[in-house]
Amino acid sequence: MSISAILFWVLSVAALFSALMVVTSRNPIHSVIWLIVTFFAISGHYILLNAQFLAVVNIIVYAGAIMVLFLFVIMLMNLNKESEPARHRWLQLAGGVSGGALLLVLVAALKDTELKSQQSLLLEGHTGLIKTLGQELFSTYVIPFELSSILFLSAMVGAVLIGKKD
């Protein structure tokens, strides 16, 4: 077993375990912390796939900006274990069964796919580097890139407008 295969399994187990902890922890703060762990594990997967730009962006944008925003809102509302709404037992059971059914159907549908013999290249390739991605982003995808700036502007205006006290 090569070192990258060992890393793949360790990161996969870490991602799945912390994702489960996000769903099961009672305290919302703990959920946020576990979600940050999940994002770091997924960033590790990106590094393993040599998608270095996406790994760094994932840490900066998700673990850095979005999760701080979540933590900020949770602390602003002073949510903790006591204020957590009581969970209905039947609702939990039904949700677990439906999620498990979705997992089962997707796995059963995709386990004999033609792609099974294909390999995902680890630790090689230059597509994930900032230089290649940047050149492609500012030549072929320049219009979607500029449109996303308009999206950000409207999101900022929307957030301020909604959050304003009237």
Partner: protein
């Protein structure tokens, strides 16, 4: 790594996100589970991107950057997710200001 390992990992992460959305009643946690589902899809897109790179390298297809579209797609998904989170959290803060709770079971005024 075989592509179906990544496929099953992404499916498992996505299903955990679905279970979280269905079982939790805190609006913020539901929002976080949606982020988890987005990240599962992102991981799968990157894995497919590297699969295309591998295919093109094996078959010696002369494309400049095989599989780069998938990674740019992930970049745009992150952009849209960041915009979505800012607006969504603003909506949740406003809801909390009005009903003093983030329990989604209190948000049933449209039903009556």
């Amino acid at each position: 790594m075989p592509i179906n390992y990544y496929l099953f990992l992404a499916i498992a992460l996505f299903s955990i996100g679905v279970v979280g959305v269905l079982t939790r009643r805190n609006a913020i946690i539901i929002f976080m589970c949606i982020e988890l589902m987005l990240n599962a899809v992102n991981l799968l897109l990157v894995a497919f991107s590297k699969m295309h790179y591998n295919q093109a390298a094996a078959a010696a297809i002369p494309i400049a950057n095989p599989g780069i579209d998938g990674q740019l797609f992930v970049f745009f998904i992150m952009v849209v997710a960041a915009a979505e989170v800012s607006v969504g959290l603003a909506i949740i803060v406003m809801l909390y200001r009005n009903i003093h709770s983030v329990d989604i079971n209190f948000l049933n005024r449209l039903k009556h």
